[in-house]
Amino acid sequence: MEIVVASSVGVLTAGGIYLMLRLRAFPVILGLALLSYAVNVFLFSSGRLAIDMPPILNKYGEASYTDPLPQALVLTAIVISFGMTAVLVMVALGSYIDCEDDRVDMPGGLDGDTGKDDGQ
């Protein structure tokens, strides 16, 4: 099972990074989404894997539970990355509407401008 989880994390990471390195905002967003899947599973796996030991306390008997802490951390991470993704999407959209293309690179580097002026 560990190899399944590890390889999934690896493939998600690789896919995410490849897309993150693309030149358009949309694939970059997809890439970051994949990366966030990857890192969530990675974080989850830091509590080690366990089958059918959910950390829901059983009042009536002895039971063993998986490590609940990474799960809580992943939940926090999921929520944060959701907020981040939302902002990223909106900023990408704003950039697209303002610049009329969805490239992520700045055409003229530091000194370039997008050829569009604010006021006119």
Partner: protein, 957 residues
């Protein structure tokens, strides 16, 4: 500290305080400015005079104020002979310059600014010569660079002024930076930055292995400041400054700072071979080269500037010789040079002021038109030439005498010959100054009608040339004591060498050399026209051109480096980040080993393997098909589904719930955004680039997988054992994950909902900006319509969602209420309710649903954040820390026992924030779409057939 010594810091600070005054009276008249500038100078000078007697008696006055003891930097001042000499020069000449500038500058020039800069400079210079701490000295040293930058660039509209100022700053500032290094090393060797300590440690310093680097770095500072070859080039360009500045900085004070420093450090650094060869050689070259160039300069100020370079070389050479006598001679020549050179600069200024030109070739015959100026200029120039009865002669003779006894690399001729050559050239250009400016016939083509200036303008140079003569005739009486005490200070106490200040020393080698110099000088003057033609014909490297080329080369190189590195390609930045991370991670990993695995891997059931295949194939497909954006989104759906299922399998039901709901909302968000964006991604990167990216990606993926595999197979003890043990007793819940979220680590959760709240704010603000800015017009003109289908709000969907809505709300409430004990909680509940609402929006359209909204999403976020915060803060009422929870079990027959926990209020905050944020995000995107011209629905469904019946019955279809 003697009583008088406490005046030292006041003397040093006075000019800085004084600088504020003219700076504040920008619009005041010239006289007022000059007066207010003179006051602090006079005050400081008075104090100096008060202190002078004790110094002349051989006392050293010291005053120290602690400043930065951690560094060994203190505001420590001391006054010995050398300091007294220089401080007197700085203040005395400063006063004269103040007077002179009052008349020299025109009414249009911003006077207040000028005098402010002047006083700043004066203060910096005073600081240098009074510092008893080399770090403090460094501070004043750099301040002179800065204030001279301002003074040289004073006429900011002139390109020469700006360029000259920048050049001076670059060269002297750069030298100053080198000096920082040198001084820190020096302090390191001695263990103190106190100058008086350092001066007593000469033996140790010279024996240290750090001596040579320290020496070189400090000399770099001195040489750049004193315009020594090859750093001499900045000084002539600094002549773009107003003449008072040139007279002050470039003859009397700033350029002497380097010489001062060498003199100051003489006991500590001088006397070694390295010192001798570096300093003497540099001085010698500078002296000859400066004089040679001066001879062919037609600009009066340039001539004087190169003459100054030459004389600074002379002083440097003397200090480099390392003999006590040479050092004393240097001190004497410093005084002499000050008097005649300042006078000459002022003369040049007067000529410029009156004739509107400084070009020697356009001048001549002025002795008739400007008799007073003629006398002043001639006396100064004769002194500069080293003609007897003027003070320049005395020190030049002594210099030649010293040179005659100096052996350079085994050669007894090298130094004497070159020194004589320097003197010869000096005679030539000095006499040329007299002959070509004042002598000859009166011309009729001066740019302006020349006549002598008002008294105020010639008073200062006149005073100086008077001193030239007085010292020239009665040296021992007038400056003898001063030379003795200053010279004694330079050589660091001990026995004074034998010397005598008098005109006639008998027939010495120096006399022959002097004679040769005067004769040769006259000969050169006679041949000047011919030589000038040759000079102009011979190609020479032009220092300014080289410097400019160097600076623009550095600037261009910097620009190229900067712009090629920061080219705006974020994809490359990310690639670099990834590569750096993988590489450094690998290095860290290789630095140690790993224990043997302690956990046996869990088995992989076939269904899990199938899920794995789905996940992997979907991920690879997202990558390979990503250019079709919609397809990629569908595939992302598969990945999210598999991960959620995986969480269920791996005992994380809470994660599964959260993952699947977040996933759905995210996909809706992406679909809403994709509506505006292009539907495909063009192929823009070539095969090579894609291969490179793939390699980076695979390396990173492999690294991460390896890392995960490594720790998953090894046991560790976690703090979560405590959470499992205390969740129910201490946190009142059986869902340990939820108790961690709302209690053990509620602070994280509080932060997390704030992230969501901020996201909501940003999105709202962004949409407002887009809709009110110029982008709004582009948006209005955008055609986003995609009317593949004509039915917008199909009846079936509307009916189904109406039924779903209350049920979904029930599910939301259920998930909320049970979260503390079973999988669920405020976050998932918020998402469930948002999804229920979203169903309505999708089915019945934006406008219709929006009209039924009761609470502003904005407010909902605000309430959520505030409720969560206040719940946490409520613990304060009980004196407990933020977020301390309370819970209790309530038994209300006939209902079974139920629990009330403060964590629920906190979770309510979470719930509201999540709901508000999600809805606000989607709402904002829809706002954009409507702005892009989409029509609005009033009715929930496209067409209600039951209405058809009614209207048909009304006969009005």
């Amino acid at each position: 500290m003697s009583d008088g010594a406490s005046l030292l810091p006041i003397i040093a600070i006075l000019p800085f305080l004084g600088a504020l005054v003219p700076g504040l009276m920008i619009r005041a008249g010239r006289t007022a400015c000059a007066t207010f500038t003179a006051i602090p100078t006079i005050l400081a000078l008075t104090m100096l005079i008060v202190l002078a007697p004790s110094v002349m008696r051989g006392e050293v006055l010291q005053a120290e104020i602690a400043w930065l003891p951690q560094l060994g930097l203190s505001a420590a001042f001391f006054l010995d002979g050398l300091g007294l000499l220089f401080a007197g020069m700085i203040l005395g000449v400063g006063l004269l310059i103040t007077l002179y500038a009052r008349f020299y500058l025109s009414g249009e020039d911003p006077m207040g600014q000028f005098y402010t800069y002047l006083l700043l400079f004066q203060g910096a210079m005073l600081g240098i010569v009074l510092s008893d701490n080399i770090l403090l000295l460094l501070i004043f040293w750099e301040l002179t660079s800065l204030s001279s930058f301002l003074l040289i660039g004073y006429w900011k509209h002139l390109p020469e002024g700006r360029q000259g100022a920048r050049m001076a700053l670059a060269v002297t500032g750069g030298g100053g930076l080198a000096m920082i290094g040198g001084m820190l090393i020096l302090g390191h060797i001695v263990g103190s930055y106190n100058l008086t300590d350092i001066l007593t440690q000469g033996e140790a310093i010279r024996a240290s292995e750090w001596y040579l680097p320290a020496l070189i770095l400090i000399l770099l500072g001195a040489f750049t400041k004193s315009a020594q070859f090859p750093f001499h080039f900045w000084l002539p360009h600094a002549m773009a400054a107003p003449t008072p500045v040139s007279a002050y900085l470039h003859s009397a004070t700033m350029v002497k700072a380097g010489v001062f420093l060498m003199a100051r450090m003489w006991p500590a650094l001088a006397g070694t071979e390295a010192w001798f060869y570096i300093v003497t050689t540099t001085g010698l070259i500078t002296m000859v080269l400066g004089a040679l160039i001066a001879l062919f300069k037609d600009d009066l100020k340039a001539l004087l500037a190169f003459s100054t370079v030459s004389h600074l070389g002379l002083l440097t050479m003397l200090l480099g010789m390392g003999t006590k006598l040479a050092a004393v001679v240097a001190v004497f020549h410093i005084i002499n040079h000050l008097t005649f050179k300042a006078a000459l600069f002022m003369t040049a200024g007067i000529i410029d002021h009156e004739t509107h030109t400084r070009d020697i070739k356009r001048l001549g015959g002025l002795r008739h038109l400007m008799p007073v100026t003629f006398v002043i200029g001639t006396v100064g120039a004769l002194s500069m030439a080293g003609i007897p009865l003027f003070n320049g002669f005395l020190s030049k003779e002594m210099m030649l005498e010293e040179a005659a006894h100096t052996v350079w690399a085994g050669s007894v001729w090298a130094v004497p010959v070159l020194a004589t050559l320097g003197a010869l050239l000096s005679v030539a250009y000095s006499l040329r100054f007299i002959a070509h400016v004042f002598l000859g016939p009166v011309r009729d083509d001066y740019p302006a009608k020349p006549h002598d200036p008002p008294f105020g303008m010639w008073a200062a140079p006149a005073l100086l040339v008077a001193m030239v003569v007085v010292i020239g005739v009665l040296p021992a009486a007038v400056v003898g004591p001063l030379v003795a005490v200053a010279g004694g200070a330079v050589i660091g106490g001990g026995e004074m060498p034998y010397y005598s200040l008098k005109i006639w020393h008998g027939v010495t080698p120096a006399l022959y050399m002097s004679g040769i110099a005067v004769a040769g000088g006259l000969l050169l003057l006679a041949l000047h026209r011919v030589l000038d033609r040759i000079w102009l014909a011979v190609p020479r490297p032009e220092a300014k051109v080289i410097f400019d080329a160097l600076v623009s080369w550095v600037a261009a190189l910097s620009r190229r480096i900067t712009e090629s590195a920061h080219n705006g390609a974020v994809s490359r930045y990310l690639a670099i980040l990834t590569v750096a991370t993988v590489a450094l991670g690998y290095v860290a990993w290789r630095g140690s080993g790993l224990s043997a695995p302690t956990r046996a891997p869990l088995p992989v059931p076939p269904v899990v393997a199938v899920g794995w295949v789905l996940l992997i194939v979907a991920t690879i497909s997202v990558v390979t098909m990503h250019r079709s954006r919609f397809r990629a989104l569908v595939l992302i759906g598969v990945i999210g589904l598999m991960i959620s299922a995986g969480f269920v399998y791996l005992s994380a039901p809470d994660l599964a719930l959260t993952q699947i709901s977040v996933e759905t909302v995210t996909i809706m968000l992406l679909l809403l955004a994709l509506h505006f964006l292009p539907k495909t991604t063009p192929r823009e990167s070539g095969a090579g680039l894609r291969l490179r990216d793939a390699a980076i990606a695979v390396a990173a993926g492999g690294a991460v997988a390896g890392l995960a595999y490594a720790f998953m197979l090894r046991d560790t003890s976690s703090i979560s054992d405590y959470h499992l043990a205390n969740s129910y007793e201490g946190g009142g819940g059986t869902n340990v994950v939820n108790v961690i979220l709302v209690d053990f680590r509620g602070y994280d959760t509080y932060g997390e909902i704030i992230v969501l709240g901020i996201a909501g704010l940003i999105i709202f603000a962004l949409v407002e900006t887009l809709l009110t800015g110029p982008a709004a017009r582009r948006l209005r003109n955008a055609d986003l319509s995609r009317n593949i289908s004509r039915d917008r709000h199909p009846l079936m969907m509307v009916v189904a969602t109406r039924v779903m809505m209350p049920i979904a709300v029930m599910v939301g409430v259920y998930i909320f209420l049970r979260g503390h004990n079973q999988p669920g909680g405020g976050f998932v509940a918020g998402l469930v309710i948002s999804i229920a609402l979203l169903m309505q929006y999708m089915a019945s359209g934006f406008a219709w649903t929006q009209a039924r909204k009761r609470i502003e999403y904005h407010a909902m976020i605000g309430w959520g954040v505030v409720i969560a915060g206040l719940t946490g803060a409520a613990a304060w009422l009980a004196g407990a820390p933020f977020l301390t929870s309370a819970f209790g079990y309530i038994h209300l027959p006939p209902i079974e026992e139920f629990e009330l926990a403060s964590a629920m209020a906190f979770d309510l905050g979470v719930f509201l924030t999540v709901l508000g944020a999600v809805m606000l995000m989607l709402f904002s995107l829809s706002r954009l779409a409507r702005h892009a011209g989409e029509s609005v629905n009033i009715e929930p469904m496209d067409y209600d057939p039951s209405k058809r019946v009614e209207t048909a019955e009304g006969g009005d279809r």
